[in-house]
Symmetry: C2
């Protein structure tokens, strides 16, 4: 069902410091920070030769990162995102297999403007997984 | 400094269940399990079109996964691995920048038979990072 790894999302309480780490120490190019108020995050993108990393800081009230950063004060890997061809057939297949889709179980438009769902970590070895239709 | 994402390593207390999840629910092909006693893990590889996922279960005594699985009972993302061209020049650059290299600070032969180092999560947004020379 899944195709490419689209991105790894790393949550941080301090985006400026995380940018410095990745730029100055790991030597990567980083996009301009972008406020995604609808998604409760401020984000920068790091293009690696084969995939992307997203560094995320909470933005606004009720950011989806808040609980995570309470448990992981220094930040950490928040989720990984795999690509799928058709999100609605992925949803049908996942429901058949008993996997828990977060929210109302329907695809939403994600941070890249494409339909996404999130899968509950309890069904996937403690890993929060995003599926994005590409 | 860093190039491709080489792999995402996901730790699990139960490799058989994790294999089932990825094979039956997410529909990927999975390698035969491999005991890597030197590294304290039993591992399977999942080849995605652009990178790899490794599912790891502790093996033997003093597995490097034990502390992680005590804190994360259901498992989770243990580390991510980026490729570098020359591990020794990476080490020099990282030390200059004040990053903490785990162990004795020297490259070891990793699970793929290539020189690797691990970077302390405190310097990298709570993320355990492996660098592998390719």
């Amino acid at each position: 069902m899944i195709g490419k790894l689209n991105h790894i999302a790393i949550a941080t309480p301090n985006l400026d410091e995380a940018i410095k780490t990745y730029k100055d120490i790991l030597g990567v190019k980083i996009s301009t920070p972008l406020d995604q108020l609808d998604h409760g995050v401020k984000v920068v993108f790091i293009e690696l030769p084969n995939t992307k990393i997203e560094l995320l800081e909470p933005l606004g009230e009720n950011s989806p990162l808040e609980n995570f950063l309470e448990k992981n004060k220094k930040g950490g890997i928040h989720h990984i995102c795999f690509e799928v061809k058709e999100i609605n057939s992925a949803i049908l297949s996942l429901k058949k297999d008993g996997a828990t889709i977060l929210g109302d179980g329907k695809a939403k438009i994600g941070a890249h403007g494409k339909p996404v769902i999130f899968l509950h970590p309890k069904d996937f070895n403690g890993t929060l997984i995003e599926l994005e239709e590409v």
